[in-house]
């Protein structure tokens, strides 16, 4: 394999682009591929159909031709695999290869691998690399790793294209039937090819199928070959190898050419340095003179002025600029054709010829309708203005923000929930007394405040004024999992249910809480 002979520009492509590379390759070598294809497949087609006709099972010959596709696939693959390295085979060589080349893997491909979904990708592995057994399996796995999805889709697409093309050929004949005979013709075609085909109809069907297959199959093989080529380029960095080889060749050549020069330069260096020093002045002087003559009225920062005498204009740049400007995309020019009146004098319109009373009528109607329309428009405008003013807060909220004074928030009245002087010494007794008087809310409120106060004592810090129940609970968690924490949580829940949901606890529950309150107090003390 000589990579230098490659006729395609290799680079890592996406899988889909790789299939198009393969298709383009097939197109490039179309003449060889299809000459060999027809010469190889047509005799087989005729033979198989004759056999089918002899045993009166022509459908079998269609199946045989379809089944033999992998055998025929070798034709385009042989041409492509040689042509891609610059050695396009002749038709004769290709036919010779069809008879002799690559039969060994065909056994598998005609039996258990016939329906393999990535046939186009894997045929090159078998035919071009000739691996077998475990090594083949490993190779196939590596090749398929990122490519098998596309390969399967390509197979699916090619099968569909094949079917569509066969159908197109049938329908194309119907396209040329005049419309009045169309339904008859369609019935005839249906009978001849599908419903109850005579022998020649069956053979014609096989011929059409062969035609469609012949058109699609080389492209299918080409697409698979493109995938194979791309995958190997990815795995083995063929494009990098090519670039490296070119680089090495260049370095080798330039090293050989440079060697005498370097030695010469070394020898001359000593003498040259002494003689070199006055020369820049001389050169500069000469350049200065030519420059003053040259620049003329060149703009201040043009290349000509900056580089003065060292500027060499070989005209190439100017030429390319001029050529660039002639590009129709940069300076588009188009020609327009317009109809113009030959006789420019104003003629009489048909309206002028109408009797004057009719004209008066029209004008009156026009005036009335314009008056009505104008006033309706004014009304609509007024309505719109009114609606805007009325609903500007909803529709245009940004206006309200500008023109209205910012509303002061209501002053927040804070009650210190836990002032020591409010809480009596005997909390349990006071709460029980209030509860029995029927002031359930007051009782629970007092209980809650006392609980918070005790929490403050336990924590050693006072809660900020305005602390919510949730904040109190969060504080309580700092105490850890003590009896009092659990009790506090129950008291808070009880208070919240009463205060916000109007759900008063049962008397028994309050008693239970009070008992717990007293017991934790005595335990703490």
């Amino acid at each position: 394999m000589r990579l230098e002979g490659l006729t395609v520009a290799l680079r890592p492509r996406s899988t889909w682009e790789a299939t198009d590379l393969g298709v383009a390759l097939v197109r490039r070598h179309a003449r060889t591929i299809w000459s060999a294809w027809v010469l190889a497949t047509l005799p087989v087609l005729l033979l198989v159909n004759a056999f089918g006709a002899a045993i009166d099972m022509v459908w079998l010959s269609w199946l045989l031709i379809w089944w033999l596709k992998p055998v025929f696939d070798r034709v385009p693959l042989y041409v492509l695999s040689r042509a891609v390295f610059g050695a396009t085979p002749s038709v004769r060589e290709t036919l010779g290869a069809f008879l002799r080349w690559g039969w060994r893997p065909m056994f598998g491909w005609l039996t258990w691998r016939r329906l393999h979904p990535s046939r186009s990708l894997l045929l090159p592995v078998d035919l071009l690399e000739g691996l077998a057994g475990a090594r083949r399996g490993e190779r196939v796995r590596v090749l398929q790793r990122s490519t098998s999805g596309t390969a399967m889709l390509v197979t699916l697409i090619a099968a569909n294209m094949d079917a569509m093309l066969s159908l197109s050929v049938v329908l194309l004949t119907l396209m040329f039937v005049p419309i009045e005979f169309f339904s008859d013709a369609a019935q005839q075609v249906w009978k001849t090819l599908f419903e109850n085909p005579p022998l020649w109809g069956q053979c014609l069907g096989n011929l059409i199928a062969w035609f469609a297959t012949s058109l699609i199959e080389p492209f299918y093989v080409g697409a698979g070959f493109g995938l194979y080529l791309n995958r190997r380029t990815q795995l083995e960095a063929w494009d990098v190898e090519l670039a490296f080889r070119r680089l090495a060749a260049r370095l080798g050549a330039s090293a050989a050419a440079l060697l005498p020069l370097v030695f010469g330069a070394l020898l001359l260096a000593g003498t040259a340095r002494a003689a070199d020093e006055p020369s820049p002045d001389k050169v500069g002087g000469a350049a200065g003179e030519t420059a003053t003559a040259d620049i003329g009225d060149a703009p201040k920062d043009s290349l000509r002025r900056i580089f003065a005498g060292r500027y060499i204009d070989d005209g190439g740049f100017g030429d390319s600029v001029r050529q660039g400007y002639t590009d129709p995309d940069l300076s588009p020019k188009s020609r327009e054709h317009v109809w113009e009146k030959r006789d420019k004098s104003p003629g009489k319109t048909s309206l002028d010829k109408n009797p004057s009373w009719l004209q008066g009528w029209f004008e009156a109607i026009g005036r009335v309708s314009s008056f009505v329309a104008e006033n309706v428009l004014w009304v609509l405008a007024a309505l719109l203005a009114f609606l805007l003013v009325r609903y500007h807060r909803v529709w245009l909220p940004w206006i309200g923000d500008r023109f209205e004074r910012e509303r002061q928030p209501d002053a927040l009245h804070e009650h210190d929930i836990a002032r020591p002087e409010d809480v009596p010494a005997d909390v349990a007794g006071a709460v029980r007394a209030l509860w029995q008087q029927g002031q359930a809310r007051a009782a629970l409120s007092l209980f809650y405040r006392a609980a918070v106060l005790r929490l403050d004592e336990a924590l050693g810090i006072a809660l900020p004024p305005g602390a919510t129940e949730a904040e109190c609970l969060r504080r309580a968690r700092r105490l850890g999992d003590t009896d009092y924490t659990r009790l506090f949580v129950r008291i808070v829940r009880c208070w919240q249910a009463a205060a916000y949901a109007q759900r008063l606890p049962a008397t028994g529950e309050v008693e239970e809480l009070l008992a717990a309150w007293s017991s934790t107090r005595s335990a703490a003390a």
């Binding site: 299939t19 697409i157 119907l174 396209m175 058109l215 190898e241 370095l251």
Partner: protein
């Protein structure tokens, strides 16, 4: 051609799904539903490709999925007129009912154009994509003994970026091609090349 067919199939399937849901929704509306249904069908058939191609940078959802883009033949983004022309010309490409003409034209034309593309002077091109190979390994920079032009620096950087996908043997095989640069062989040469790639990429 294969990717174009795939993109068409994706677009077709998408539109089929839309049509299916719409028909379910409109079934309750009776005759009015049928009228709206026909209008939507028309829009999906003729407006869908045009709108996507012009407004979504030359890509219908199917083309986007496959990585294709419609452009004018001179490479500029496709505009309203070319897009409308190439999609109206579908009537020709579809001709014997199932894209037979378009198929043959696409395979025969050197630029894979169907008739619509030829008339509208448009091309369907592959979108440049990122190949998913990682950035070059971060190794200490090694100064190249010789100054190299940009293209050759690019080759060495490409080697470094793709080194992870190559077997160690293949890496050494490639590095051995450049004894003038690496002044070494085998694994050392590979390391030197990776270092040079780092220096070309401006790392220190």
């Amino acid at each position: 051609m294969m990717p174009r067919a795939a993109a068409w199939a994706i677009d077709f399937a998408l539109r089929l799904v839309v049509v299916w849901f719409v028909s379910l929704a409109l079934a309750v509306l009776g005759d009015l539903g049928i009228a709206i249904y026909v209008i939507i069908l028309f829009a999906l058939l003729w407006l869908y490709p045009v709108l996507f191609e012009v407004l979504m940078d030359g890509q219908t959802p199917g083309k986007r999925a496959v990585g294709l883009r419609v452009v004018n033949a001179n490479g500029t983004p496709v505009g309203w007129v070319p897009s409308i022309v190439r999609n109206l010309m579908r009537t020709v490409d579809m001709l014997p009912l199932c894209y037979g003409f378009g198929l043959v034209a696409g395979f025969a034309d050197p630029h894979s154009r169907r008739f619509g593309d030829m008339v509208a002077d448009t091309l369907v091109v592959h979108v440049e994509h990122h190949h998913g190979h990682s950035s070059a390994p971060d190794v200490p920079a090694v100064q190249s003994p010789l100054p190299l032009p940009a293209g050759e620096q690019g080759a060495i950087v490409a080697f470094a970026e793709r080194a992870k996908q190559l077997t160690p043997e293949r890496q050494q095989e490639l590095a051995n091609l450049l004894p003038q640069l690496t002044q070494a062989r085998g694994a050392v040469a590979v390391q030197r090349l990776l270092g040079m790639a780092s220096s070309f990429l401006g790392r220190h």
